[in-house]
């Protein structure tokens, strides 16, 4: 190596370079604009085109929103106020909000009942959704279905009480016999619950007061967004546990259980929901013993739950399949039995993987509850298409009504989606 070369390689820093801010083009808003909107001439063109489209939409929508009329009693009156100007006729919402939310038959002096049930829903859902809350709060969740039923349907308080007692009796029967054998506990639970419901049902019918504290509202009077919420909340909360059971059943070593689950899942997934709803509405009556009337809402809940639980089962099966076999083996080798291994090791991980898929189905299910308008139930969409648009006052108000329906559904669905993303972040433990 020559001397000159060695000199050019060797280097010792004499003075320190103080830190300085990046040039203006490389920071803040300017940098962001350059990188995201104007990084190349093609992107710049697209940005300008997009801005133009936004402008067009704003020009069309903003006056419509701003000029909106809120206080008239019919579409004709709206048009008179607007005098040919562009403007929405929001008065349909202020005039018919009660029908949109509760249907047109629910007694208007009783609106506070579903209102309270709705507020209590948050209290009931919170302990399930947020693990950091004390576990004792789950008692509210367990009692909520009975409270909500009583509030919304009213009638004699004995009905929800007997239902609750049936579950308690079933649990006691299960706890008594499960130590001997799971099957014995299972059937004891069913027998105890059925017996309680049968006897309790007879007693409740015999002593039902003529004028109960809360006026009874029959199922056919339920409507509006309340009906969507009833169906959505009930079906989601029933179909997730059912889906888990179906997914586990599909993996079972016992052929009878396995094939029952496979046939159920494949059959339900192969049939459109609307067909199942028609079955619930019309055909199911043929299969029931004559004289028994089976509540229509209950029939619809059963059908939607079956439908979505089949889908959820498949999503969870994906989560189960994604777990390495070693997790099952580690659980086994530590001596955990099947229910423990599933509950403590397999399901927490499989469900975590399945969250996006489950939420996807839950959101879809919630929106699918509007399909019941096809079997002449007056849910939110049914109310709009039926009583409101058919009325002489509001015939022709489409944008405002369907926009309102879309907004209500969007708020709920976006909320669910945001919650699921938060949950995924909470549950991430940095494993590969």
């Amino acid at each position: 190596m020559s001397d000159t070369h060695a000199q050019s390689v060797a280097f010792v820093r004499g003075t320190e370079i103080p830190p300085s801010p990046p040039p203006a083009t490389q920071r803040g808003a300017v940098k962001w604009l350059r990188e995201n909107l104007f990084s190349s001439w093609a992107n710049a063109l697209l940005t300008i085109a997009a801005l133009y489209v936004i402008y067009l939409v704003a020009v069309a929508v903003l006056p419509w929103l701003v000029n909106g009329v809120w206080t008239t009693t019919s579409l004709t009156a709206c048009r008179e106020v607007l005098q040919g100007q562009v403007g929405a006729c929001f008065s349909v919402l202020t005039e018919r909000w009660n029908q949109l939310l509760f249907g047109f038959k629910y007694p208007s002096d009783q609106y506070w009942r579903p209102g309270i049930a709705f507020l209590l829903l948050f209290a009931a859902a919170a302990p399930v959704m947020f693990f950091k809350l004390p576990r004792k709060l789950l008692i509210i969740t367990a009692l909520y279905p009975f409270i909500a039923y009583y509030l919304i349907w009213g009638g004699t308080i004995l009905t929800p009480l007997v239902a609750l007692l049936g579950f308690v009796a079933g649990y006691l029967g299960y706890a008594r016999l499960v130590k001997q054998n799971f099957a014995a506990g299972f059937f004891a639970a069913i027998a105890a619950a059925a017996l309680t419901w049968w006897i309790g049902g007879m007693i409740a019918e015999a002593v039902a007061p003529a004028r109960p504290w809360l006026e009874e509202v029959p199922s056919r009077d339920m409507g509006g967004f309340m009906l969507n919420m009833i169906l959505g909340v009930t079906c989601v909360s029933l179909s997730i546990p059912l889906g888990i059971l179906l997914a586990l059943g599909r993996q079972s070593n016992l052929p009878l259980i396995k094939w029952t689950c496979v046939v159920f899942i494949e059959f339900i997934r192969g049939v459109p929901l609307i067909t199942l709803l028609f079955v619930a509405n019309v055909v199911l009556a043929y299969f029931l013993p004559p004289g028994t009337s089976f509540d229509l809402i209950l029939r619809v809940i059963i059908m939607i739950t079956m439908f979505s639980s089949a889908y959820i089962a498949e999503v969870i099966r994906g989560g189960l399949a994604a777990l390495p076999k070693g997790q099952y083996e580690a659980g086994d080798s530590l001596g955990l039995d099947y229910p423990q291994a599933m509950r403590l090791i397999i399901l927490p991980q499989a469900l975590k993987i399945s969250i996006p898929g489950i939420v996807n189905i839950a959101v879809g299910l919630f929106k699918d509850t509007t399909l019941v308008s096809v079997i002449s139930m007056f849910d939110l969409v049914g109310m709009i298409r039926g009583p409101i648009l058919a009325s002489s006052e509001w015939n022709g108000v489409y944008w405002e009504l369907f926009g309102f329906a879309a907004l209500l559904f969007f708020v709920v669905c976006y909320g669910i989606s945001q919650y699921s993303q938060w949950l995924e972040r909470q549950l991430s433990t940095g494993h590969r």
Binding site: G326, Q327, S333, L334, G335, D337, P348
Partner: protein
């Protein structure tokens, strides 16, 4: 040398008689006869596919055998699930890929089975867990998740997790083969310490240094059969079968 202190009792811990296993029509384990006394440390080696992992996985019924008998601690292994769980409680196992539960912290990994299977209180379980985590020298990681630890640390946690069940027998299924060279030593040190305390151990491993130092019997398997077994000194210096010689020359020859 530590070996001198390690006593082997006459009590039989594991006894395998005429055990055969097939995967479909493939005969993986053929007429296995093996008796392990309490306190024995056995190393099983052999080429891949020779059935050595399958053999130790049969001992805690992760794999089912078709004929012959396996007796662990006097309990005969049958297809009865209660029987199997009883054996699994007495037999700890470490896997090649650690198989820690990634959704639980290190401490929760260690306390889960004692709480749910041994039914001890959470506090007691945590004390035991901390004791064993100290033993494998990672008590300070107790509240981290497995994904935040290195491979060697994870394997040591896996050992601690098994020990928390207070097993009388430990099975190791290639515990170091998924590890970087630097981490192998820390895991082997833990295993050596365990051996010195008199734990009955069966290790499937290719760490021949470990075998020489710790094992009191080395078993060589090929094609589902036990080809040769001997004390380590004799086994390495004076192998009898041609197949063993070939195997040893290949793994020690570089």
């Amino acid at each position: 040398m530590a070996e001198a202190q390690m006593k082997v009792s006459d009590e039989v811990a594991i006894s395998i008689r005429k055990m055969n296993k097939w995967y479909g029509s493939f005969h993986v384990l053929r007429d296995i006869d093996l008796t392990v006394n309490r306190g024995e440390r056995i190393v099983i080696c052999g080429p891949s596919g020779s059935g050595k992992s399958t053999l130790i996985r049969c001992i805690n019924a992760l794999e089912e055998h078709q004929t012959g008998t396996i007796e662990v601690d006097g309990i005969k292994l049958s297809s009865d699930i209660k029987n199997i769980d009883k054996i699994r409680r007495e037999v700890g196992m470490c896997f090649q890929h650690f198989n820690l539960f990634p959704h639980l912290t290190i401490l929760e990994n260690c306390t889960l089975a004692p709480i749910w299977v041994r039914k001890i209180t959470k506090r007691e379980a945590e004390e035991t867990a901390m004791h064993f985590l100290e033993k494998v020298k990672i008590p300070d990681q107790a509240h981290k998740y497995p994904g935040q630890l290195s491979g060697g640390q994870q394997q040591r946690v896996a050992i601690a997790r098994s020990l928390c069940m207070k097993p009388r027998i430990m099975l190791f299924d290639e515990p170091t083969s998924a590890l970087d060279p630097e981490m192998i030593k820390e895991v082997l040190d833990t295993m050596i310490e365990l051996a010195e305390e008199g734990m009955t151990m069966i290790c499937v491993t290719h760490e021949m240094g470990f075998a020489r130092q710790v094992a009191n019997r080395v078993i060589f398997m090929d094609e589902g059969q036990i080809v040769e077994q001997n004390e380590p000194e004799e086994f390495f210096n004076n192998p009898k079968s041609e197949r063993t010689k070939l195997f040893l020359s290949q793994i020690l020859g570089h």
